[in-house]
Structure formats: C-alpha cells, structure tokens
C-alpha cells in the first residue's frame, strides 16, 4: 500500500503541483496523466525517493519511505526516461549487473530465458550499441520480468516499443498487478490495460 499525503513539488521558481493525495493498494495500478511539464516525471521521482517533496509525505504500508530506506528500495523497481543500459555491455551483462545491484539472485540461465522471452535471442552477446532503440527497451522489459519487486514505478514505459512489445509489456504489468503487486505509470497514450485508477496533475 503506497499512500501519498499533501504532496507538493517545486521546480526552480515554479510550483508544479501541491496538495496531492492518493493511495494505491495491492493489486491496483495508477495511471498518472498530465500535460508536458505538469510534473509527472517529478512525481514519480519523488515517489521513488530520488527527490524529496517540497511538502507532504509518502508512506509505504503506513511508514514514511525516508525512514524505511533500504527496505523500501528492496521492494521498488523504478524505470526512468533513460534506459540505464550500458552501450558497451551485452544485454546479458546488463541484466546480470542490474540483478546484482538489486541484490536479487539471478542465474545466467534465468537471465537468458528472460531475454529470449523478449525477442533478444541470439543477441545476448552483442554489445547493446548494435541494437535498435526498441530492442534496448526490451532489455529493460526483461529486467521487469526477472526482478521480484512489489512496487513498479515506470516512467513512459511504452515509448519506442512496437505493437508486439507493447502487448508483452501490458501482459507483464497485468501479471504483476494480479499477483498482488502495485504499478504506477505515466503514459501519453491510453494504456491498454483493464482497471486502474487515474490521477490527473
């Protein structure tokens, strides 16, 4: 259960939003909507604990995330605008590094399986800079599949994906939410997923 209370965000001189309240429980997902520059990305970064809010607080199971620290980060998966994928490394190396950084055990076999599931079979050993933009995003999707996290915070996860990949990602999110997980995402398009709350900022 992620609860936000009276959140406010100030960027430079501008107040992006204030008095934001919402709660997302297990098995639910939240679609954050807003115009360009409304503060969607800022909100997600605040929720992930990367930036402090100008006012208000964020609770995870009733505890402020600042106090939870490591315990909150262990349950969280955040994917931002940038791919966080190293061009010089292969998809396999990227995936294994991400898993070790998240402190979750991932065998090479499991990693290969996840990459194959997202259509990267045969490209595991190719440096990422030889892949297309869409294929790079697929490396990230493979990370979603292998990471055991309760809370997903995804910033524009559908950009640069082809139809097939969009379907795969949607299936992944549905699976995650139905399994009792929580997902918070931003997207310009309508999201082809059932249910979900909408938050307009």
């Amino acid at each position: 259960m992620l609860t936000a209370r009276h959140l406010a965000c100030v960027r430079g001189e501008r107040r992006l939003f204030s008095g934001l309240d919402f709660a997302v429980g297990a098995g639910q997902w939240l679609h954050v909507q807003g115009e360009n520059g409304a503060g969607k990305t800022s909100l997600l970064r605040i929720l992930a604990g990367l930036a402090p809010p100008a006012a208000g607080e964020i609770l995870w199971h009733g505890e402020p995330i600042g106090r939870l620290g490591e315990d909150y980060r262990r349950e969280l998966l955040f994917l931002g605008h940038h791919s966080a994928v190293k061009e010089e490394l292969t998809p396999l190396e990227n995936l294994l590094f991400a898993a070790r950084l998240d402190e979750c055990a991932l065998s090479e076999a499991a990693a290969l399986k996840a990459l194959a599931r997202f259509g990267l079979k045969g490209r595991e050993a190719l440096p990422v800079r030889f892949l297309s933009a869409g294929q790079k995003r697929r490396v990230l999707l493979a990370r979603l599949a292998v990471r055991q996290a309760r809370l997903w915070i995804l910033d524009e996860p559908f950009t640069a994906l082809d139809v097939k990949a969009v379907d795969m990602l949607s299936a992944l999110i549905v699976e995650h939410v139905e399994g009792g997980g929580i997902a918070i995402l931003t997207s310009h398009q309508t999201i082809p997923l059932p249910g979900g709350q909408v938050l307009k900022i």
Binding site: L50, A51, E70, H82, D102, E103
Partner: protein, 221 residues
C-alpha cells in the same frame, strides 16, 4: 558487498571495452614526464632534483584528465538513479566506483612510474619510495577528485570547473608525495612523509565518499 563488487567489476569491464580512456591518461603521464628533460636540459643532477615534482604534477594532471567522465556517463544514461535505488547504500557503491577509477587510472601510473624514474636517474631506493608514495597518494587523488566530479555533474563548463575545484585540494598530496622522494634523496628518510600520506588517505577514505554521495544526490534531484 555483492553489489559493490558488481559495480567495480562492471566499471573495469567498461574500461576494458573503452580502452582509449585508460590509455589517454597513461600516455599523457608518460609524454609530460618525458618532455621535461627536453625543456630543461639533460644534466643528471638537475633531473634528479626535479624528478619527484615533475612525476607528481604529471600524475595530478593525468588523474584530472578522466575525472569529469567518472560519473557523467552513468548520470546521462540513468545508471546513477539505479545505483541510488539499490538496496545497498549509495555511499558504498560510490566507493566501489572510486576504487574502479583508481584501478584504471591510478594503478597504471604507479606501475609506470619506476620506468619514468629511470629517465631521471633515480636509484633503486628512490624508485621504491616513489612507488610507495604514489601507491598511497593516487587513491587520495581519486577520492578527492570524485568530490569535484560529483559537484560539477551536469554543470555548465564542468570539465574546466573541476580542475579549479580539485587542484587546490590536491596540494597536501603533492607536497607529501613529492616530498617523500626528496626527503629520501637528501638522506632524511621518507617515513614521516609516507605516514602523513597514509593518514590523509585514511581521512579521505572516511570523508570523501560521504561528500561525493551528498553531491550526487543533489545532482539527481
């Protein structure tokens, strides 16, 4: 701990794949130290006298060279965010990155220094002291440099700014590092200089990752 090792391993792997960056710093070091005799003349007595200073100043500048690339690529591609969100403490991961930086830029300088020392007519004892001083001093350069790299992350003209911020802070390392060899050559013994360098290193290992992490968090907001 696992995550820290992963960070070190990944940075070393990246350095291996990019090669040019590691070799640029090393070649810079070699060329600068080799140019000084050409500018100053080949008298062995003079060269012996300036050797510690020249080698240390060249080491400072060679370390500075790649410093702005310490965090910038990770910042640009979002890896830094993922480091900050790892369950492992960010300070520890950053220490890992600094360690990798030392292994790829500091350590090659230490290994290359004896060869360059021979060009300056240093004897075996002086070479030994120089290697010891560099071994203690170059991690110090990486640690202090990381603070500057973190502070100038994503800042206009960061590459020039970083030298302005970091070089004044390098002064003690330069004094004790070059002083150790000089003290040995003048028969005073280098123990005092080396132990002061070690003390500075201990202090920096303790404080520098903390300051670097605080600066990185500001850049991430």
């Amino acid at each position: 701990m696992n995550a820290v090792l992963a960070v070190i391993r990944r940075d070393l792997l990246l350095a291996m794949r990019r090669k040019s960056e590691v070799f640029t710093a090393l070649f810079f070091f070699v060329i600068v130290t080799s140019l000084f005799p050409l500018g100053l003349g080949p008298e062995p007595a003079l060269l012996k006298k300036i050797a510690p200073g020249v080698i240390w100043v060249a080491a400072l500048l060679a370390t500075m060279l790649g410093l702005s690339r310490l965090f910038a690529p990770d910042h640009a591609d979002g890896t830094l965010e993922q480091l900050a969100l790892s369950p492992a403490p960010l300070g520890l991961l950053i220490t890992g990155k600094i360690a990798a930086h030392w292994i790829t830029t500091g350590l090659p300088l230490v290994l290359m220094a004896p060869v360059l020392g021979l060009q300056y007519d240093l004897d075996a004892g002086a070479l030994g002291v120089m290697v010891a001083a560099l071994l203690l001093g170059t991690p110090l350069l990486s640690l202090i440099g990381a603070i500057g790299a973190a502070l100038t992350l994503g800042v206009r003209g960061g590459g020039v700014l970083i030298s302005l911020l970091v070089l004044p802070l390098y002064v003690p390392a330069l004094i004790f590092g070059a002083g150790a060899v000089e003290a040995h050559l003048s028969g005073l013994g280098a123990a005092g200089h080396l132990s002061l360098l070690a003390a500075l290193l201990a202090l920096a290992v303790f404080f520098a990752p903390w300051a670097t992490t605080a600066a990185l968090r500001i850049a991430l907001e």
